[in-house]
Symmetry: C2
Subunit: 348 residues, 2 copies
């Protein structure tokens, strides 16, 4: 089943630092069963794609330290389906290398690029959208970026503005990209009908993306087009800034599949169902008193009794407990840095 | 060494509920190494008395469930030195039974009664005071209650008012007992020179206390004056309310040995040294940001990162994390009850 020209690359090399302490250096969030549903985020992602794409066409890119974790969680993968980054260089170098390899396997491939740490609630809609996007990208010569109609002025997501062509269609030419906006801008974006959340899911034909790499990253392509790519001499650049924001053939596909980026505690809070005091309790035993707008994640079998907290994150994982305001995301990176300065790798 | 007529009874039967979750039903606080100093509170208490009282004259009363814990922590005790309460009935029935047994061993005994969960900072002063009290009680026919000059208006301690006889002596006739006062009263108490904290340490000759038991608890004494005392049919009463508050031969001994009752998180907070933001960190790895007036106790090897808390208790022990205002002690009893209603014994 599935069109033999359809491929998928799941990106699973991130450190998930913003989810510390749940996400740890040696076990980032994509390898964890975040919701206690019995499947890790990576496994959930793989399962979503294997319904619509031939399993032998699904690839995973990851950082060398995580290779064993990927093998363990996706034992059906052949080692050749795992692309290893020997050095962390963000998404662009890794995808350039993967694209080169897939081109050698099938010069008519059309590929979905997917993060490994997202929440998708409406599976039927998702399958329909991905197939629609693959069909469109396979013949149009466009770089397709899946966009989500915003439901709230989230300042943690990237936004994409489309050109106002008056059409109600699914695919729209992209006008511009806006990274995490200020709150007042985000409000305006949601009011308008021109802005969409950037899902981080891309679809393109192999020729389209290789052409874009050669136009925008010509100097580093040769380093990545070999069996032993030289990641160490590549710059640290994302596919968004090196390709998507620079190309003029980028199209947004409007999607409605119940999407959330599990990118930060705050976005997770926004995405999940709340109790009547607006607390989000993730798979944890809790007793809350006089507490509102909190997000709580505790280890299995541990009980948290909380009285008098408002707007906090309480997250415990392995040897770390973190209690902080849930809206101050940037702080988490500071905590991790400070903890590493003081204690070394023990808690990071 | 030590006067052969001097005895000690260490009371180690409490549940320490106000210290939940650190203190647990199957392992109350007296059996824990609270300060991570290598000795449990019970062991510390025993060590204090064995310097001044013959070891064979030191007894421990405890609840039946804790007998093994006492044996384990005080292996030098002969089983006959442990008095078991088969039913919890507070301090009076247990001490009546213990007094009866000690009287049979030595009708000229003078006994110190001591809680097993206190902090004593000045050992020399402590030894001097105990010996002074024993000497006084051995001949005076008084019930001696050790009192501490209050240094702050603590509303969690019991207070004792002495009769103003104008003397500067060590022993003063007691006028009245005041349980945990309101804050404004406590202020007045500290200002006056008539009020002292009730340390819960008592000293009396065996004849004096047996006489007091027979006057105030005549109906239950027979049940406790046998080898197999019938605790179940005794009322639940403290030595304070049944004897000390009713007798007219109670004397307060003024002491200065750096005393704190480890009776609640709040009293512990008051007793311990604070960092410059007035946080008390008990034997825990922490990184605190924008946080003041908190008390934190974490398991060994666990790190707590806390940002933006003021006036909270953060205590984790075994399978429970508690976060609440540190000044609302009564709440802890409610939490434990609620937790038992919801989860049974698992977390209590």
């Amino acid at each position: 089943m599935g069109n033999k020209n359809f491929y998928c690359i799941i990106m699973a090399g991130g450190m998930g630092r913003r989810f510390w302490p749940y996400s740890r250096k040696n076990l980032p969030k994509q390898f964890l069963d975040f919701f206690g549903c019995g499947e890790t985020l990576l496994r959930q992602t793989y399962n979503r794609y294997k319904k619509i794409i031939p399993p032998e066409n699904i690839f995973v890119t990851t950082y060398c330290d995580y290779k064993d974790l990927v093998c363990e969680q996706l034992p059906e993968l052949d080692p050749s389906q795992i692309f290893i980054e020997e050095e962390r260089r963000n998404t662009a170098p890794s995808l350039a290398h993967a694209s080169h390899l897939i081109h050698k396997m099938n010069p008519n491939a059309t590929i979905v690029i997917s993060p490994s740490d997202q929440l998708i609630l409406k599976m039927d809609e998702f399958e329909r959208s991905i197939l629609e996007g693959l069909e469109f990208a396979s013949t149009s010569g466009k770089l397709v970026n899946l966009g989500i109609k915003p439901t709230r002025p989230d300042t943690n997501y990237g936004y994409i503005q489309i050109e106002d062509d008056g059409s109600e269609g699914i695919f729209h030419k992209v006008k511009t990209f806006v990274e995490k906006p200020e709150a007042d801008f985000a409000e305006v974006f949601v009011q308008s009908n021109e802005f969409f959340w950037n899902s981080g899911i891309f679809i393109w034909h192999i020729d389209t993306i290789l052409k874009a790499f050669h136009i925008n990253m010509s100097e580093i392509c040769p380093k990545l087009e070999s069996e032993s790519p030289d990641f160490s001499s590549c710059p640290n650049i994302s596919i968004d800034s090196s390709i998507m924001e620079k190309s003029d053939n980028v199209y947004l596909q409007v999607c409605h599949f119940g999407w959330a980026d599990i990118g930060s505690w705050e976005s997770l809070y926004d995405a999940l169902p709340k109790d009547k005091e607006k607390n989000v309790i993730i798979n944890s035993n809790t007793m809350l008193y006089n507490s509102e707008n909190n997000i709580v994640l505790m280890p299995e079998d541990k009980l948290a009794v909380i009285d008098g907290l408002e707007g906090y994150l309480v997250a415990e994982h392995e040897n770390v407990l973190l209690i902080c305001k849930k809206d101050d995301q940037k702080a988490i990176r500071k905590y991790v840095n400070d903890v590493e300065m003081k204690f070394g790798e023990k808690y990071s």
